[in-house]
């Protein structure tokens, strides 16, 4: 059991999936934190540092770090031309999370864009999945 869990954790494809989930979670926390953070004068507000006053931003940062660690592991084993397009599954998950957790409105055009991203990810993922099956 422990051996299987270890094998799973060391699997770069599993780490890629984890990285995507962590990025989605971090973005939701960061958006919540950014909205509740105090606004600084216009000249410095663009730096985003006032966000550090929000606990949600810190939760977001923790998930950013977790996704970053997973991503570094992925980079060691999977070519960037495959790993990076696949990691863009976040563009499907983040709008869904924004709609579900932040009550943001997703227009029909936006849904179409999300569908296109999904098709692109599937096109990249299919030969990789076949390659994995052969292994």
């Amino acid at each position: 059991m422990i051996q299987k869990a270890k094998e799973l954790l060391l699997n770069p494809w599993f780490q890629l999936a984890l990285s995507v989930l962590f990025v989605t979670t971090s973005e939701v926390f960061l958006k919540r934190g950014a909205v509740e953070a105090p606004r600084l004068p216009e000249q410095v507000n663009w730096t985003g540092v006032s966000g550090l006053a929000s606990l949600n931003v810190w939760y977001g940062i923790l998930f950013v770090i977790a996704s970053f660690v997973s991503w570094l592991y992925v980079l060691r084993f999977i070519p960037l031309t495959i790993a990076f397009p696949l990691s863009n599954f976040v563009h499907v998950l983040i709008p869904l999370a924004s709609w579900f957790c932040l009550d943001e409105i997703i227009s029909t055009q936006r849904w179409c864009g999300i569908a296109l991203v999904l098709i692109g990810v599937l096109i990249v993922a299919k030969p990789v999945a076949r390659m994995e099956e052969k292994l």
Binding site: E27, V28, L30, K31, A34, V35, A37, R39, N45, W46, T47, G48, V49, G51, V57, V64, F68, W71, L72, L75, R76, P79, L80, T81, I82, F84, P85, N88, V90, H91, I94, P95, S98, W99, L102, E104, I106, S107, T108, Q109, R110, C112, G113, I114, A115, L116, V117, L118, I119, G120, V121, L122, I123, V124, P127
Partner: protein
């Protein structure tokens, strides 16, 4: 969107792309090699700068509107990885990357 916001989105995107290339370079090296430290440090610095600029932008824009701009990085990174890192970029991979970027642009325009 003001021209300054557009510039910040562009700068955040460029920094993000450069960071990915630095980090991939770093992770292909031995962890004790000075090359790793150099590229990892550069990747971390550019990634951090991109992160804070994005955080500032999040105060003014919806997450579902702002984040997809980074999707443009798919095609850019795929091409640069093929040129700089000499990775194999098949027509199928490029088509997938282009569709992802196209989808992201569609999302951004809505």
């Amino acid at each position: 969107m003001t021209p300054f916001s557009a510039l910040l989105i562009f700068v955040a995107l460029v920094l993000f792309v450069v960071a990915q290339l630095f980090l991939k370079h770093a992770m292909e090296s031995d962890l004790r090699n000075p090359r790793f430290t150099r590229f990892f440090g550069a990747g971390l610095a550019t990634m951090t700068a991109s992160f804070f600029i994005t955080l500032g932008l999040l105060q003014d824009f919806d997450l579902s509107y702002l984040y997809p701009f980074q999707g443009l990085s798919v095609v850019i990174i795929s091409i640069l990885a093929a040129i700089i890192l000499r990775e194999k970029l098949t027509p199928r991979l490029f088509l997938g990357a282009a569709l992802i970027s196209g989808g992201v642009v569609l999302v951004s325009l809505s």
